[in-house]
């Protein structure tokens, strides 16, 4: 905890929350009435986007030059993941005929989330804000809500594109159901429309925050007991948790992308 002795008086719980929460406004900005100030999570989001674009644009240069020979090295690794996202997430849910339309969107979800998740595991980014505030942008519900809102609209757009404006809204309730049931079903389905992105928001943010809270809680006894030997146990446990977190990073990105694909697929093929 690089917070230092000056903050030693604060309760440990407050400090933990401080570490997973966003920083204060670093660069105040506004767009009309909208506050678009730059905070640490915005910077982490940008770093993730830059890292991601560099990782993909540099090795795929040869494709844009027309060299379509078999990939080697890192590009092979990237293609394995892209191929996996396509064959395990996109095609089974959206369908092979619509895969080309929705694959870029779903891949943007998966890769941007997984990059932010992994960058959050690297403690060096703490120093952007002098050790204050977390670095896992996906642990912030505002960011995950923004992503889930994209899914929310993607689902509606996908349905309207496939079945027309009225066709899509009619598909929200399954056909062939006695009309009195509609009084229950329509509110439930409309609620479901909003609950799904909300669940996406909370699941990703809570999972990413929880790992960091757990790690910080394991480190906490060192400072509570003022005994560095406690750190041996804390460090060993946290090494294990870091490995667990790496799995969680991939799994949560996978779950967010998979559920988005499932919702879009349900909107395209409503009676399945």
């Amino acid at each position: 905890m690089s917070a230092g002795a000056a903050e030693a008086g604060k309760p440990i719980g407050t400090k933990i929350i401080e570490h997973v929460a966003n920083s204060d406004v670093m660069v105040p900005l506004s767009l009309g009435p909208l506050d678009i100030s730059i905070t640490k999570h915005v910077i982490m989001l940008w770093i993730a986007a830059i890292v991601l674009m560099a990782l993909f644009l540099i090795p795929t240069r040869r494709y844009r030059k027309g060299d379509f020979s078999a990939p080697r090295g890192f590009l092979n690794f990237l293609e394995t993941i892209v191929g996996w996202v396509r064959s395990a997430i996109v095609i089974p849910n959206v369908g092979a005929s619509h895969a080309a339309t929705y694959a870029p969107l779903l891949m943007s979800f998966f890769f941007l989330i997984v990059t932010m998740n992994f960058l959050g595991l690297i403690p060096i980014f703490n120093y952007i804000n002098h050790g204050h505030g977390g670095t896992t942008a996906t642990g912030n519900i505002n960011l995950t809500a923004a992503l889930a809102i994209i899914t929310f609209f993607a689902v509606i757009v996908a349905g309207i594109k496939e079945h027309g404006f009225f066709g899509h809204w009619k598909n929200i309730v399954p056909g062939g159901i006695p009309w009195p049931v509609m009084f229950i079903l329509i509110p439930i389905e409309i609620m479901g429309m909003f609950v799904r992105p909300f669940a996406l928001t909370m699941r990703l943010a809570a999972n990413m925050t929880a790992g960091h809270v757990a790690m910080l809680a394991i480190f906490a006894p060192i400072f509570m007991l003022h005994n560095m030997y406690v750190g041996v146990g804390s460090v060993l446990m946290n090494v294990g948790i870091t490995f667990l977190e790496m799995i969680v990073c991939v799994v949560q990105a996978y779950v967010f992308t998979l559920l988005s694909a499932v919702f879009i697929g349900m909107s395209i093929h409503p009676h399945h």
Partner: protein, 164 residues
Amino acid sequence: MENLMSFDTGLMFWTWVTFLVVLLILGTKAWKPMITMLEKREAFIKDSLAQANEARLEAEKVAKEYDEMVAKARKEAQEIVMAGKSTAEKMKGDILEDAKAKAESLMKQAERQIEAERDKAIAEIRNQIVDLSLLAAAKVVGKEVSKADNERLINETLREFGQN
């Protein structure tokens, strides 16, 4: 809980902007070409497998044909050998038969010749004996016995000899 659950329009706004940028840039520059590549490669692998299967079937067919050909050739060779053997056997029999017949005829001829020679020799000896006997008898008797009597006497004697 400080700002853990606070509403932050800035982060939402930047998330949308960043997401859109990532989607536009990587969607067109990286993921579209990569997916196209994957599809192309998938099709290529599928085609290659189909071609390999076809080639395998073709090879199997050729191998079967070849096997059949070899079997046929072997059978033919065997037939030729068998035919040759039987011809040779027959020829051998013929030659032997021929040789035997020739040998027999030669033997018979030889026998006949020998017999003829013997008869001739015996006749000659007989004549000489007659002459000698006549000469001897004339000397002993001192007179000429008529040749006809002599010959009769001698022939009788000889017949007696011959009978014994």
